[in-house]
Symmetry: C2
Subunit: 462 residues, 2 copies
């Protein structure tokens, strides 16, 4: 064992420094199996002090560092390069609840706690931690913060940035920032913790956070509504907000083709009606479920729509959600597709769809576009696929497809990374589409805080 | 006119460069009349391009710059020093609504628009811009962003930081950051706009912003509840959130002494009951007002409390609010008081009050402590006064009083600046109480973006 490895092992303990390829393998391959890296070693620190000691050593010896949470990222942000030079630091052992403050609606957790464990900790205090996404059983709070995670509850509760009251982070040279705080109001200068949220580990390592909690909703009402166009669907967002205010917690739009695929590929699918577009909407509230359901039924009765169904039981609710949740699996069964993690102002979604659809069909006449998403917060899944299974042409065209889609996204005020981040997957696109002065500021701050470019090199800014 | 003044006048037009003392006087004195400065000149730019040209020139000639909004700040953050060297840039001419996007619940406004005008612009589109504070007729959106303004609606809608979706700002060297955006989800690296929010103009000048809008509530229910202690009052915050969720839009706690003062000094005061502590609470919602009121009455009927009254008309509602709103005036009529803009985790408020009260009474046995505030977001008005009018001893003791109060605030996880910022009033306290690594990061970023320390020198970091 080299002298450096011995010093690293002395910090975390020999059993928490992994160097054998069989031990490090799970940390070296990203979730989508698109990136494979090779680290110097994988360190599993057990405390903020150990993270600080690791970064002090890495800083002194100019060792690049790759932080990793649950390794569920979709942009390769937590995978090291092939050089074998980087120290990978995985936070999984730092998974404790440090403090529950139900009366302040906040809790302080370590960065390696899984999102599901954080949800459970809140639940045990009769509170809701609302962040929710597909990987919640594995992804960790530190990764959620580093990618400013979004998911299903953004419409009502905001992204991870809005859910973070305070933060503890270790800087590239090992200094520890203590910005843990349960405060809702604090005007002591610009908010330094914001630098680390969404930075994907390029400015330091988040080790703990104070998170906002909410009352647990006691009533839910769910409906599927059929409308004639994307424009009509988006019009419903304002109507619903006016009628139900913050109770509107889900607003998903689904093009007909999505449910065609679900019906075709997922056995047992029950589709209540067929319309050009569908809206899956959910209200959640304190108080009584029957009253909320009744209010939704009454209100829907007074609207112009093609068709609608309101779930009358938990089974019916689950059936409506399965229509939405099975789209990705149905698509996968149908063949290859190129996916885009984009967001737009909700008002721009109809024009974007018309614009991007036309541009893609001009270039790829046989393509089929599968459009659905969390339209309530502007987040759209905009996926291209061929109907013929086994066709691989589209992968060859990926760069060209991305360019057409991103050009349309930016014409309509959108973003090429809604909730998956940049990682190593989109660095060249970020350089091309992001406001140049914003990029310059990011580089200036990066150079000031990490002059040797040791923190997660090659990610975000490339 | 000097060559520099001629070049400045050429940028904004001679009529928009003020140099005569009678013209510049209103910009040189802060709202509390505590700071009086003397600028080189006051420039009133009419566009972002003019702000950029001013900062380019200031950067090239090493002229310090003081940005100013509505000049209603309470910490001297917008007042220049006495040197006569700084260019004061006031944004009042940049007051346009650039874009209203009701369907996206957002609007883009220039930084010089008053908060009241922004509220009105939202209202005209049948939307709510929820930021609300005493100076709203004069204060400007740029100043609200630069101080991360709070006010009355934070409990439900968050501070200005949470209300800003996008930002346009001019950097110290004149580059223009275009981070205007109506997006709810965007993970293209760390969020550069956050640097300018709460920076009090020390990193650049905010020229425009895209702001979040909300549905307008259609129902309000207001109650005054009497309880036995601060601890009991804080316990009600969780109970109310559990019962009414996001509908809880106001939660103010008021110690008996406050209402004693109101009764004594404000003619026509009608006090429904006398209890050790009172809670002024308000629910707001979409839907029907009578239903909401009824729900509140029913719920209160099932609680343990000393006394309660629910407003049955707009007149009764106004009377309850006047009890709260007249506290400051009653205090002023009663004599000198030392005020503190502090916030704590809501759960820590009772222990803080006990702790700080004891420490102050040990040092100043005759002092009276007048405690009230937006306890729903942890923001407390914690004011000391003597009952004898004309007594000035307390001013002489201000530093000592602050130290006792701030020591207690930080023992309980609070902040010495909840919503007024640091300005020049609290720079020495910031240096003493803020986490040292947070201060170092602030200084590093400041040095990287403004190496000549030209932007609002002497403010925040001193």
């Amino acid at each position: 064992m080299s002298a450096i490895l011995e010093r690293l092992a002395a910090i975390v303990g020999p059993s928490h420094l992994l160097t054998a390829p069989t031990d490090t393998a799970p940390y070296c391959l990203d979730w989508r199996k698109r990136y494979q890296g090779k680290p110097l070693a994988v360190a599993l620190p057990g405390s903020t002090a150990e993270v600080a000691a690791l970064l002090q050593l890495a800083h002194a010896e100019k060792i690049p560092v790759v932080p990793q949470g649950g390794n569920t990222g979709l942009a390769g942000g937590a995978t090291p390069d092939q050089s074998g030079k980087a120290l990978l630091i995985a936070l999984q052992r730092m998974n404790k609840l440090r403090a529950m403050d139900a009366a302040n609606n906040s809790m302080t957790v370590e960065a390696g706690m899984t999102l599901a464990a954080a949800q459970t900790a809140a639940e045990q205090a009769n509170r809701l931690f609302p962040l929710s996404l597909a990987a919640e059983g594995s992804c960790q709070i530190g990764g959620n913060l580093s990618t400013n995670a979004g998911g299903l509850a953004v419409l009502r509760y905001g992204t991870m940035r809005e859910l973070a009251l305070g933060l503890e982070a270790v800087l590239p040279d090992g200094r520890v920032l203590n910005a843990l705080s349960g405060l809702r109001k604090d005007t002591t200068g610009f908010d330094v913790k914001q630098l680390f949220i969404g930075a994907e580990g390029t400015l330091g390592i988040i080790t703990a956070a104070t998170l906002k909690l909410f009352p647990r909703p006691t009533a839910t009402a769910t409906a599927l509504v059929g409308v004639a166009s994307a424009e009509a669907a988006i019009g419903w967002l304002s109507k619903l907000k006016d009628a139900f205010g913050d109770r509107l917690s889900t607003f998903e739009i689904i093009a007909k083709v999505c449910l065609d695929l679900v019906e075709q590929h997922i056995p047992g699918t029950r589709r209540p009606f067929i319309t050009p577009w569908s809206i899956l909407l959910e209200l959640s509230d304190s108080g009584d479920a029957a009253t909320l359901n009744e209010r939704l039924v009454d209100w829907l009765g007074a609207q112009t729509l093609l068709d609608a169904v309101v779930a009358q039981s938990e089974t019916e609710r689950a059936a409506l959600w399965q229509l939405r949740e099975n789209i990705s699996e149905a698509q996968a069964k149908d063949g290859i597709s190129l996916k885009h993690d984009i967001a737009l102002p909700a008002s721009a979604i109809p024009a974007f769809i018309a614009d991007a659809d036309a541009a893609l069909k001009a270039q790829f006449p046989s393509c089929r576009i599968v459009t659905f998403g969390h339209a309530g917060d502007g987040n759209l899944h905009y996926n291209l696929s061929y109907t013929r299974p086994g066709n691989v042409d589209l992968y060859d065209d990926e760069a060209k497809v991305n360019e057409i889609v991103y050009d349309a996204v930016y014409r309509h005020g959108g973003t090429l990374a809604a909730e998956h981040g940049i990682g190593q997957l989109k660095t060249q696109w970020l350089a091309r589409y992001k406001d140049p002065v914003a990029l310059q500021i990011m580089k200036t701050v990066k150079a000031a805080l990490d002059p040797d470019n040791l923190m997660n090199p090659g990610k975000v800014l490339g």
